[in-house]
């Protein structure tokens, strides 16, 4: 028996019943695409088309089409990669860590957040392939041994760790997401009115029939997957941070990078989830499932991680001074006052100051403010990676080789490609799969819905101090 305190805000409003949940969520999947969806999808595909042209051109001519120079040999490609991987942290964080912490508000957003994660990781992977220059040799990054050359991959290399980390993360995230989808796919199958969709959703539902024994195993699997994914999420951005931190470059080599990158990743990932969910909520009329309570909880996580990132910035800056190492100090002063001061300013404003507005309850619960800040945060997080990568490189130990990086149209076009890919995939997902985890929301309805459902309890409004439910 579970008891829910009356101080908790309901997470499902509008007096929904279980059947309402099924209908509300399945409607999008079963109906014809809406006009706004078609417009958005067309735009995304067009953007993807332009992007694919840029990517093809980049591969054909070589990465010389980018604005890289001898000093700044890594710029937008890796910035975009880290940015997307970071965004790709929220989904698994929501489904894994919040599951372990038994946060019920997770249930309405985890499906879409996980899907978003997978697409973001794919976008990130596209930049790995892009910056290789010769993507047809991508398998050289795998430990394939002497048939392919005379050496194995170097297991000392953080880039090899990255290959393992990103591919493991992508695989496990897809598996986690898909396992969670199975019961909902079975719901769609059981409701299907035409043969084709019954066949397609039936195949995808893996024959699920919701038996108690299967649910028991399903829950065990979810819990262990959550337990495995939690350190996995941390490891991914940790290893991404080590791409930089294992080096000797001032501004890159600093021990705080692993947890600080993870915090930043969660920060930007939650912001992206908010950006997407606020739109989805509006377009699909899901206000009763993604309530202000959800938005507020997400905003709190954003404030927390934004503040952790802020403390990390200050720590880095302080220790650079404290270390007494001239190059360290210079790297940080150059960030703030050198030729890239504007990117540093953008990073500080967007990442450290803007989320502090969420200390005000009215801002936390304002859809418009949340939407704007969620975008601002992701702009800031892009600049953070740009600051770390480009400003640390552009003035190295040899002043004669100091340089400035300016992006070309192909830097921008290849970045646009990832947006095209991301939105195309997300729109396909939102049309053909249930955007909210129906089974999980049903499971919390009694304890977290605004009205108790079911004949047994009967009474519509519970006025006592405690809402007692028995699930």
């Amino acid at each position: 028996m579970n008891v829910t305190s009356s101080v908790r805000e309901p997470l499902v409003t509008g007096g929904k019943t279980w059947a309402d949940i099924t209908n509300d969520i399945c409607r999008q999947v079963e109906g014809k695409p809406s006009k706004s969806w078609i417009i958005a999808f067309t735009f995304s595909v067009l953007l993807l088309g332009v992007g694919v042209f840029c990517v093809m051109y980049t591969w054909f001519v070589g990465i010389g089409v980018w604005g890289l120079n001898k000093t700044v040999g890594w710029a937008w490609d890796i910035t975009n990669f880290v940015w997307w991987v970071g965004i790709g942290h929220a989904g698994t964080l929501i489904s894994a860590i919040l599951l372990l912490f038994r946060q019920k508000w997770r249930t309405s957003i985890n499906r879409a957040a996980e899907a978003m994660t997978i697409f973001a990781v794919l976008c990130a992977a596209s930049f790995i392939l892009l910056h290789m220059g010769r993507p047809w040799l991508a398998h050289w990054a795998l430990p394939l041994g002497n048939t392919y050359g005379s050496l194995w991959v170097n297991f000392n290399s953080p880039l090899v760790w990255d290959v393992f980390a990103i591919s493991t993360y992508l695989t496990v995230s897809v598996v986690f997401w898909y396992i969670g989808l199975i019961p909902d796919l079975a719901t769609i199958r059981d409701r299907a009115t035409n043969k084709i969709s019954r066949l397609i959703y039936g195949t995808m539902a893996f024959g699920w029939n919701g038996s108690a024994k299967d649910w028991s195993r399903f829950e065990a699997v979810s819990l262990v997957l959550a337990g495995l994914s939690t350190p996995l999420v941390l490891s991914v951005h940790t290893i991404v941070s080590m791409d930089f931190a294992t080096s000797l470059v001032p501004g890159w080599h600093t021990t705080i990078f692993p947890p600080y990158f993870v915090a930043g990743a969660i920060f930007s990932g939650f912001a992206m989830v908010l950006t997407l969910m606020l739109i989805t909520r509006k377009v699909f009329h899901l206000e009763d499932y993604i309530t202000l309570a959800h938005v507020e909880s997400m905003n709190k996580v954003i404030t927390l991680t934004g503040s952790i990132v802020g403390v990390a910035y200050i720590t880095e800056f302080f220790i650079a001074w404290y270390s007494g190492v001239e190059y360290e100090s210079y790297a940080f002063i150059n960030r703030a006052t050198g030729p890239y001061w504007w990117s540093y300013l953008a990073m500080m404003t967007c990442n450290v100051f803007s989320p502090q507005l969420f200390w005000f309850r009215s801002v936390r619960r304002s859809i418009l403010a949340t939407f704007v800040i969620s975008i601002v945060v992701n702009i800031g997080m892009w600049f953070e990676r740009f600051v770390i990568i480009v400003t640390s490189l552009h003035r190295d130990y040899l002043p004669s080789s100091w340089a400035y990086f300016t992006p070309t149209w192909f830097d921008i076009g290849d970045y646009a490609n990832s947006f095209g890919l991301f939105f195309t995939l997300f729109l396909l997902f939102s049309k053909f799969l249930p955007v909210i985890n129906m089974a999980e929301v049903k499971a919390i309805l009694k304890s977290a819905g605004d009205v108790q459902t079911g004949q047994a309890t009967g009474n519509a409004k519970v006025k006592s101090n405690e809402t007692v439910s028995h699930n």
């Binding site: 947890p259 990390a312 028995h470």
Partner: protein, 428 residues
């Protein structure tokens, strides 16, 4: 629906810190003092010749760069314990604040335990202040004006590492922590009497403020109190690593206290599910500590910059490998042991197994702090003897005395907490 059996708990349950119990704790305090005295005498006499000679050398003007004397070991041992118990007390306040800010419901039944921990802060403050004033020169190389005069790097840091500013920070942080703890504890007491949501909501606000202060201050005290022992060494992660070690020790102490009270037949409302959750916390944050340990070690090992690698050299190779065994034992007891031992569900639900894990973790992290502090102060002259065991017995007894007194002041259950029913019916 239907009928469900509700167990009725005594909502006014109190812990009585009986005179016999007090006597027993005080007896341990005196045993500790006696051991400390014996240890000190042995140290002075045992290291006599050598120590005297070096001390003489030091007075001749080689401040700082000399080999450590017996006083170095004495103050390092005292500092180590004061720091460790400061951490545990502080984590108690931190734990409670987190529960409030996160709207946690499950933890209400155990809330009064960590809530009492803050009471030790003034005592550990006095301990740290006195140890610093008496032994600061032995512990902190940067306090020697003549050493700084010949050291450009230390001169660069002197704006931050100087005695007045150091003391200001110490007083300020302890003051803020204690002040906020008093507010939280006061609200908690008033909630028992008056009920309602007022104090609950107020505590959430105060907790949020505390978390901000905590977030900044834990890193800064880690730099001050531990990192600056090796004043040339720096690591940006150190503050968080230091916090993680405190955090795990604090959680383990909460678990141990809960279990000990349960053994006395109290805390009947704390069921297996609460213990399970506490066990998960110990497990998860042991892994988290390991994560930070590995992150710091791997990056420093990989880059191999002399200024940085010296920290691990000292612990792995220097002083004839004096700390080598402890270095590896640290990973075994703080990672491998809790990881493998607490992995199963049963281990987190059975009192005896949980108790073993909690004790091991407390010892493990006490050793972790030992390893952070000793090499920098005592070089290869540290050890484990009457002095070390006596000191820890004194600090632990004092901590137990203060905490027991504090726990006995309020009921064991926050009976008017709005999430009380959630916690009483906690079932996972």
């Amino acid at each position: 629906m239907g009928s469900h059996s509700t167990v009725h708990y005594n909502l006014d349950e109190k812990y009585d810190f009986t005179p016999e119990a007090k006597k027993r704790v005080l007896m341990w305090l005196f045993i500790g003092l006696a051991m400390f005295g014996v240890g000190l005498a042995m140290l002075i006499m045992g290291g006599g010749d050598h120590g005297h000679e070096v001390a003489h050398g030091a007075t001749a003007g080689h401040g700082g760069a000399h080999a450590p004397t017996w006083t170095a070991r004495l103050y390092a041992v005292l500092w180590h314990n004061a720091l460790f118990f400061t951490g545990i007390s502080l984590i108690g306040v931190f734990f409670v604040s987190i529960q409030y800010v996160a709207w946690a419901g499950w933890s209400v039944t155990i809330k009064r335990i960590p809530e009492a921990f803050g009471a030790f802060l003034p005592f550990s403050f006095v301990a740290m202040l006195v140890i610093f004033l008496l032994g600061g020169h032995d512990i902190f190389h940067w306090t020697h004006a003549d050493a700084v005069a010949h050291d450009e790097v230390l001169q660069g840091k002197s704006a931050f590492l100087n005695t007045p500013f150091f003391l200001v920070r110490m007083v300020l942080f302890f003051g803020l922590w204690y002040f906020i703890w008093r507010i939280i504890r006061g609200y908690s007491a008033k909630e028992d009497l008056e009920g309602g949501l007022t104090y609950y909501n107020k505590t959430i606000t105060v907790s949020a403020v505390f978390l901000i202060i905590f977030g900044v201050s834990t890193s800064m005290v880690a730099w001050d109190w531990t990192m600056s022992i090796n004043p040339h060494w720096y690591s940006t992660l150190f503050g968080w690593y230091h916090f993680a070690s405190w955090w795990v020790s604090g959680i383990a102490t909460i678990v141990l206290t809960v279990l000990l009270l349960k053994e006395k037949g109290l805390l009947s409302f704390v069921n297996q599910n609460h213990l399970h959750d506490l066990g998960k916390f110990m497990f998860a944050f042991s892994v988290f500590w390991t994560y930070l340990w590995v992150s710091q070690f791997l990056l420093i090992y990989y880059a191999n910059i002399p200024e940085e690698i010296i920290y691990f050299k000292e612990r792995m190779h220097l002083y004839d490998g004096h700390y080598r065994g402890l270095f590896f034992f640290n990973i075994i007891i703080n990672f491998l042991f809790p990881f493998l031992f607490l992995m199963t569900r049963d281990a987190k639900r059975q009192t005896i197994l949980l108790k073993i894990a909690a004790i091991a973790i407390i010892i493990g992290h006490w050793l972790d702090f030992y390893l952070m502090i000793m090499p920098g102060v005592t070089k290869g002259t540290s050890g484990f003897g009457f002095l070390e065991f006596g000191t820890v017995t004194v600090f632990a007894s004092a901590f137990i005395y203060v905490i027991s007194t504090q726990i006995s002041k309020l009921g064991l259950l926050a009976k008017n907490h709005p999430m009380l029913q959630e916690s009483l019916h906690h079932d996972i």
